[in-house]
Symmetry: D2
Subunit: 228 residues, 4 copies
């Protein structure tokens, strides 16, 4: 994360200071990633959390951060709500990154059990309130994609845009940092998906991330965490 | 609720005692009905709560019970959960009758936002736990009908039976009284719907109750409350 | 339909020729509009077909065209297919304007009985083949809107874009004129819906047309028919 | 298929006559099974059509019948309609056994693209009409199960019962033989599924048949064909 123009001696000095600080505090910042199957897979080799750990190691920051994955396949916003005490609060994180929304939209079509938009907002609000009460820092993410076509002709694009708008306004309302993965993925696909394919650029199956997709998420996450 | 064989003077004596008790305690038992549109309509003239009030008056028990309707159209189990503090706990009820489930099933088909069965159970459990903690008595109800055909060929019969089974085992597990409206409605329709009609016997539109349906619910509720 | 630059005497001459032709042939061109509730409402006062009749009268072309509305609420592509013989071929039209697609998408969400995209294309193809065999001219339309928000955050935008793409490629493949109502509505709303409202600009309820919407459809239809 | 009371010499005589007839006519009765994945799997080793071939061989009837499987996974009633010419009429069958309906119900829930009941009946009617016109004998089947619980608490039981009723009345109206697989499966499960399991008695996954399920279908089919 060193800017390219930083002189070598300055970088080294900063690094020494940071490492000292870390050894003095004996404390790593605990970042918990709270989400669905994308996060469940994220901790596996090549997953976005695994890639973040490597990025941190490359930057000699591995002693500053502990990354905790808490993703469960199929989770929707209210699944997160129901398992907060056990899976989040009990782990005493400093930061929680909420990365949810795909199933809230997808299950409408595949199971008939998606989440109403107003209920999505209410449970999201309830999660934020609980975390705030514990003085845990919060980062929000928009859900990336269900289908990578770039002309908004993926079946669920409309709804995914709607739920992303809800998350964006929750971030604004609560003055919380936002990682806009939906925008990042669309921007990337607009550059790299000239054939308007459904999958294969950032995902393996329209939803779950391939190596490039995991890398893109890892980079976006790193940018946001750097500022915290 | 006086048995037909009770002598008049005894009934009068009991009544006087009861009324005295009521005036001494200055306290009515507060029964809150927690549900969806069926309960929202239930407080209106002819609705099941309105009919219960009349039944109580007929039995000179109107000073013993205060019936509070808290039904909101479209509510599912997690809507009840989200509005517990404001709409239930704040009202200090002695008894809460939970009458929910139709929309958890119906919205799967009409909106794509029904409730997964395991989530239905989890939120129901969470509601029971919260009420128990406040020493509030709890009565469970099964959802009556979405369609009155008696050969299990109403579109959502399978799922409605499934969710009713979940509620029945919640009642058993928690040792709580159950008002099995689904069974009561099916029994009534088996007697009174020889043409296998979709609606018109106990409902106006396959779901919402007509006068007879409201009466049947009121009677079933009275039976259960009598025992509390 | 006279170009603004046409001299008056020429317009009059053409008109006289056209009217003579009409009286000689004793034949009007029969245009049948084949669709769903939007077309069913289209024949009523203020509807798009009613407005087209007025436009034709204003242009003294009422003797050249007979407009026949054949819209039934809730129709999907295969409903059109099933009623072709009775409702289209029996009426011997010269031109059939196919305006369908909203329910094929919408019913997925509201009833669970939408149309698979490949089946949509197959039945559309079968309708085109039947009309071609009878030497009936065919005009295709894309479905306009389900929600008027302009940032593609209406719930069904993705699917509606997908089905519109299918219709566009059917028009191309079969070399048929296309009235791209989806594009026309989006363009209009981008100009006239700065608040990103769901309805009220061209529709009364996100789907069915208000006076302005009916006028826009009538104008787009007139442009296309002029060229036939 | 010989009744238990038939004397041996008579059975042999009939068999000789039948075999002579077959060799004279050089013609087998062609039975085509028209359906979905259950029929697609039915031709594979152990599938119901494979089992029927073995049953016919055991009864020395293999020269009298040619069984043709025409099942495609995911097919609904209108898929059958769309592929009638190529897959049925072109093959000149003497008998067509229509075994469809599971996906018409299931896709409502899993894809949003099930079939409206009135459209199910219309396309079924259209298929029957086309086959009758070619003097092809027709046998109808009800769809067996989506879930094997016997108390009508499988999610889609209500709808499956409804579509089975539609098929039953189509058989009656058209005076056609009916193989009531839904009834046969329920009867079998009532005897053999005391634990009210979802699958494993006649199916591997609530829908697709295990060896026992394929055998039951084969036996029911044989009974019906015997009478033709």
């Amino acid at each position: 994360m060193r800017k390219s123009g930083t002189p070598f001696w300055l970088a080294i000095s900063i690094l020494i200071i940071l490492m000292s600080a870390a050894s003095i505090n004996q404390k790593k910042s605990r970042i918990l990633f709270f989400g669905d199957s994308i996060t469940e897979i994220g901790v596996k080799p090549g997953g976005y959390i695994d890639q973040m750990n490597k990025m941190l190691a490359d930057q000699k920051l591995e002693n500053n951060y502990e990354l905790i994955g808490s993703g469960i396949g199929g989770n929707k916003i209210y699944d997160l709500f129901l398992r907060m005490d056990d899976d989040v609060l009990a782990k005493k994180p400093n930061v929680v990154v909420i990365y949810i929304g795909v199933n809230d939209v997808w299950h409408k079509q595949s199971k008939g059990t998606g989440t109403d938009p107003d209920k999505f907002e209410k449970f999201y609000d309830a999660i934020i309130a609980k975390l705030k009460k514990e003085n845990i820092k919060i980062v929000l993410c928009t859900p990336a994609v269900i289908g990578e076509k770039t002309d908004f002709s993926n079946q669920l694009d409309g709804d995914l845009n709607n739920y992303s708008n809800i998350i964006r306004s929750l971030a604004k309302k609560n003055n919380l940092p936002l990682i806009d993965l939906r925008k990042a993925f669309l921007d990337y696909d607009l550059q790299n998906n000239p054939e308007n394919k459904e999958q294969g650029i950032l995902t393996v199956d329209r939803v779950h991330l391939n190596a490039t997709g995991n890398k893109l998420v890892a980079e976006e996450m790193m940018k946001a965490l750097k500022g915290m």
